[in-house]
Symmetry: C2
Subunit: 756 residues, 2 copies
């Protein structure tokens, strides 16, 4: 029997949509506080230099300046993923992003002026900007105390007899793929407001997307216990992974506020956002794939080299996810992966939507096409033969339950084949495919992958969900409200969501790994189910009927066999409440998926569900100019169940926008450690009119563990795009591009090279 | 065995104290929002007049004006206790407080200027300002549709054979007591910010102290369901009952915001606060008391006349509490009470700390002294003979459980007798006593007298209490945190209190009737007990010990027989949480005291506990000038248990300040319907250097139902003061004053009258 839903499965608008579209949303940037001071950060002039002396005398003397801090003024407390940086650098700078001083002043202009008055005397040091050069003997050391630029982080995985597989393979392809440094380019820049209370407690308004981890990490970076930090998250203008770690901006805001004795806002301007926002890591992926004569994959062997930059954030941990693609995108019995991660004097990277997977999928799926060509198989056919199926357990031990890759392949093929637009004279057309494999039921990266929820139903029949989950524009507020509305049987507009204050909300590990709908959704569902039981019990007493004989729907409890006998929820609540010994309706739940962390060998079933997607790209190439025009992307996604189909499509659209930029235009240009792309004039983010026709197909595999069958979708739209586009270009002009972005200049140069 | 406490019973500073003392508290008045507009209200020029025409043309044309509203622009939706007023008056005005138009503008100055440009044409009507005159045949009618100025509200109570008791009494005294209109004089004026979201939901920042009732009432006044209104309560600069009803300021702020399409703040200036803040009702109490020859009270007969003013708020419901004093202050077997409540063209009153009880206690306790004189008994002895005792059930059916009136009498007498300051030559000295009787365990005025609480313990060992209770400066945050800290065994500074957002908090009926410590305290205790049990179970599993063998104290769970084996709460929480299938610690409770609403005959046990206090006043009077100088107040209070003794004393100090003003200096002068006291130059609030020596004795009767034995104390400090001072003046100069305030002019005039 197909379940029928009142709320689930019907597109509803994002609840923050109208406010955002009408310019009424109050972003962190709009927040005003009495006595709010403005902080600015002075960054390093050189990518590698000793700080000889910092003279802040003139800055301190400037009227309106409230605080000036350098690394010498504060206790150095390392933080970040590898605890290898401090908020204000002492002794030397290691990249141009390095924070050497910070000022708080009455106005932003005064703070800017004060930065100009700080004189820093540097002694420049030889620097390294390339991982290979950085590993050469005698290379300048980024962190002398390590004695090497080789990063202690290393990911190694081995499953099956890879060497034998390659030796016995009918076909082997090998290539090296080069992925650029890109940035999230959020329209809302990074910002933080810090405010200390009289008892030494700190309130932070921040763009983080992991508020409870941030609470711990920030406290630690300031020498407090986590309980002293309250984290508030006003609406942000995008995040896309930018908020997964603690960064100097937050610590500096807190230090300035403490010194100034006033609340302080530090807010990046656009240049600073390009310079200091931790984006997607630049990396090189060397990949070999082996297959038998029927096209069945036998093995993959992969080596990833990452330019870590000067400090370590999540960017250098992405092999964790790259591996899941190398080992999990299609059935492949033997797999090996190794990494080389290297400190350089470049800016460091963080996490960004897809988190390693667009990178590895570009390599794997480019290579799939090359393998198909080698074997003389149609690319789609090769993929069909190797598609993972429900019940598979992959080399890492991932257990595939619901899994609709084959359906995604069919759907993408079907959609890309429809009524194609006309091809302009002289242009060449190609179609390319790429699939992807990703977690869809959380990811146990920390020991907990849980989320808490509290649900209350008030005297007006209004329901409030207090969720640990963080809304960063992805629509989680809306979908969580839908889950609660469906579970409780109330109209959607009666569900409020509270999700922006660590003091109020129960714990959650944060918004990452496409986990919110699945994990926070299950928590909300469980809490709502408890509340539903309480409501039923109350109503049963009031109606003098057994609870089992009652229906809950649209805000009414009715007697199933006599629907005229019914009570509105608000009436049930009030009757249960407005009497001696009354009660109110509140329930709570915590959901932590049944998963395991990866062990030291990178084995373990990290997610309660896995998902796949297939994208097909229809691409026209102008051989004259090298211009690539994507005409259509057909994107098929195993979503388990589409709770809010319109929002799910929107997530995919956004992902495709980001993926196309990655494929074709975006690159944070870093030369000799300096970031040259510092504005949207230089950094080629795609505009609305650059976007192709997009067709999204949502495949419902109905996951047994997911809330109403749903699985995560937040990242899958971005992941295959670059590979699909590269494969389409290959199909169009016969040239394989292994480096992103595939700019007209590169296409032209490659065509030129082929001619000559 | 005397229980030992870690937190309870030790004075701690109010948690909002340091912020307030250092000027850092962000009051509602300090709040800024993007696009915030400023609203101002135009009030009636005459106390009674027809509105012939309102011309807003020029105001609307003023640049910067965003909205102009009159009663004709909005649907009239009556609200308030008797639903007899609307936010903007149509057709006629009935008192000078009446709102005839309102403006929202870019700045407050523009809004002010716009008010000046509104031309209102009035046709003045004959008016009534005195209840007696208002009841005379042919008197102008305040509300024509009622056909009379007699208010439909009437309180009648009768118990025992009152007439026979008076006929057979050995002594009867009778007098009439006149109580003035006074105002709360909060340092923070009334203010409201209204903000509509794109979906038609309303967020209100307000000075209410009954947020959940306000949510319902405001929604109703705007034609919304309560669920559409979110109520936020930033810190207020005093309230003292001012926030118990919905008033036009709130509705007008919402209407202006809706019209302007922007958030709007309406904030009273000081003049407006005097004019428009609903204070303590002016009333006349005719009281007769009968006693036998031994001084045992036989009966009381009381008639209360209240000047209701033009509309009805809580001021006219105070006979409800006056009765409890007439029937409950000392043992009195036969009691009768009746009321006359009359509409006039005066401003109306609301609720104010003590809520009828300072008024009735002034009558009852003045009369007790006169009765003692008549019987030739010392005033204290008369009180001792009639003091109620634990186990008493009074004429209203109030069941006294813990009750320490006799101890309070002893303590006040002891303290007032100590080392008196020297008497200046020519001055006369007197000592006066007055007791009081008040609810101390909530008051079931609504069908629910409950409060909800949610408690969570986070990974840092920090506890958050989400309470329904409203902090209005009384220290509830602090005492609720103490209750949670004691129950859970955590250091006090680790408990946060969240109490300012209806969307987040569970329901509470509001801050009134001295109920917060008792009711919200019990809710907090119950939720904390549940959490404690969960914490114990988690720790028991981790320590592999039965829960019964564990001690919880100071943030540690230890094995009782081997205290070295212990776990910090944060470690227990993290261990329970950071694992597969983990959980977090959240618990909720709702407490509604075991009480009943008064029935139609005003019988019923409305409170779970009752309390008493006795104050003694040492007063010097200068017969030359009529000046009364209070030298000392000794104030003894049955508090059940003093949870935060310093804060309890502070409550009493504040009450005495308010009571002394009531006794000696404060009066809102209303002549011909106009309010003449419009500043602190005219309205004689006592200053710090006017305050006498105050000695507080907290008597611990340890109530069985109260949290850790506590009972309410919020109002008892203010209640007996005026009577004690009047009795002391009588003692000093032999003159009985039956009207407040007892100003030097009145004293001089009375002395003069006696001489002649």
């Amino acid at each position: 029997m197909v379940p029928t839903f009142e709320v689930i499965g019907k597109t509803v608008r994002k609840r923050d949509g109208a406010e955002k579209a009408t310019g009424r949303t109050r972003y962190l940037h709009d927040l005003e506080l009495p006595r709010l001071a403005h902080g600015r950060i002075l960054r390093a002039r050189f990518p590698h230099a000793r700080i000889v002396r910092i003279d802040t005398t003139r800055a301190r003397a400037l009227p309106g300046v409230l605080a000036v801090l350098t690394g010498e003024d504060v206790e150095p407390r390392p933080f970040g993923f590898a605890r290898d940086q401090t908020a204000l650098k002492r002794g030397k700078v290691r990249c141009v992003r390095d924070e050497v001083a910070a000022v708080a002043a009455e106005t932003r202009a005064t703070a800017e002026a004060a930065l100009e008055l700080i004189h820093v005397e540097y002694a420049e040091l030889p620097a390294v900007f390339d991982p290979r050069a950085a590993l050469a003997p005698g290379a300048p050391l980024v962190h002398e105390e390590l004695g090497t630029n080789a990063h202690p982080l290393r990911y190694r995985f081995s499953h099956g007899d890879v060497d034998r597989a390659f030796a016995e393979a009918a076909a082997v392809v090998e290539d090296t793929y080069r992925l650029p440094f890109v940035t999230q380019a959020c329209l809302g820049t990074m910002a933080a407001i810090a405010d200390w209370d009289a008892s030494g407690g700190l309130t932070m308004w921040t763009t983080t997307q992991v508020p409870f981890l941030y609470q711990r990490d920030l406290a630690d970076a300031l020498g407090l216990t986590g309980g002293r930090v309250r984290v508030l998250q006003p609406p942000v203008g995008g995040n896309f992974g930018r908020g997964l770690d603690l960064y100097p901006i937050d610590v500096i805001a807190a230090l300035l506020a403490r010194r100034a004795g006033r609340p302080v806002r530090v807010e990046f301007d656009r240049v600073e956002e390009f310079v200091a926002c931790p984006g997607r890591e630049p990396c090189t992926i060397r990949l070999r794939t082996a297959a038998d004569r029927d096209g069945r994959l036998l093995a993959r062997d992969c080596h990833v080299t990452i330019d870590n930059g000067a400090y370590t954030s999540w960017g250098s941990t992405t092999p964790y996810v790259m591996l899941s693609t190398v080992a999990g995108l299609y059935r492949v019995p033997s797999v090996r992966l190794d990494t080389t991660i290297v400190y350089t004097n470049n800016p460091y990277s963080g996490s960004m939507r897809g988190y390693g997977n667009p990178e590895s999928t570009f390599a794997v799926e480019s290579q799939m096409d090359d393998l198909a060509e080698r074997l003389g198989l149609p690319p789609l056919e090769l993929r069909r033969r190797n598609a993972s199926q429900p019940g598979d357990v992959n080399p890492q031990g991932f257990v595939l339950t619901s899994f609709a890759m084959t359906e995604c392949l069919d759907a993408a093929a079907e959609e890309i084949g429809r009524d194609a637009p006309p091809l302009r004279p002289g242009w060449r057309r190609g179609v390319g495919y790429a699939g992807m494999f990703h977690v869809g039921g959380g990811a146990r990266i920390y020991r907990s992958d849980g989320c808490g929820a509290i649900v209350k139903l008030d005297d007006f029949g209004t329901v409030t969900l207090l969720t640990g989950a963080t809304e960063i524009g992805q629509g989680s507020e809306t979908v969580l409200a839908m889950i609660v509305a469906e579970t409780l049987g109330v109209p959607l507009e009666r569900v409020d969501v509270v999700n922006s204050d660590t003091r109020v909300r129960p714990w959650d590990v944060g918004t990452h790994a496409s986990r919110t709908t699945f994990v926070a959704g299950n928590a909300a569902r469980l809490a709502a189910e408890k509340l539903r039981a309480e409501l039923l019990a109350l109503a049963a007493a009031q109606l003098e009927e057994p609870a089992a004989s009652l229906d809950l729907r649209a805000g009414w409890v009715s007697v199933a066999r006599d629907p005229q006998r019914r009570l509105a929820y608000d009436a049930v609540a009030r009757t249960g409440h407005f009497k001696g010994g009354g009660r109110v309706l509140v329930a709570e739940a915590f959901y932590d998926p049944p998963t395991a962390m990866l062990d030291k060998d990178l084995h373990g079933n990290v997610s309660a569900a896995y998902t796949s997607a297939v994208q097909a790209a229809l691409v026209d190439v102008d051989p004259e100019t090298g211009r690539v025009e994507v005409r259509r992307i057909a994107s098929a996604h195993d979503v388990g169940r589409a709770l809010n189909p319109g929002a799910a499509e929107g997530q995919v659209h956004g992902g495709i926008h980001m993926g196309l930029g990655y494929a074709l235009t975006e690159r944070l240009v870093v030369e000799d450690g300096q970031i040259l792309t510092q504005s949207f004039m230089d950094y080629a983010l795609l505009r609305a009119d650059d976007m192709p026709d997009i067709v999204v197909r949502l495949i419902e595999s109905v996951d047994a563990e997911g809330p109403f069958g749903a699985k995560g979708l937040g990242e899958s739209g971005v992941i295959p795009v670059a590979a699909a586009v590269a494969n389409a270009i290959k199909d169009a002009i016969g040239l394989r591009f292994t480096e992103l972005p595939i700019t007209p200049a590169r296409v032209r140069a490659a065509l030129e090279a082929r001619r000559t």
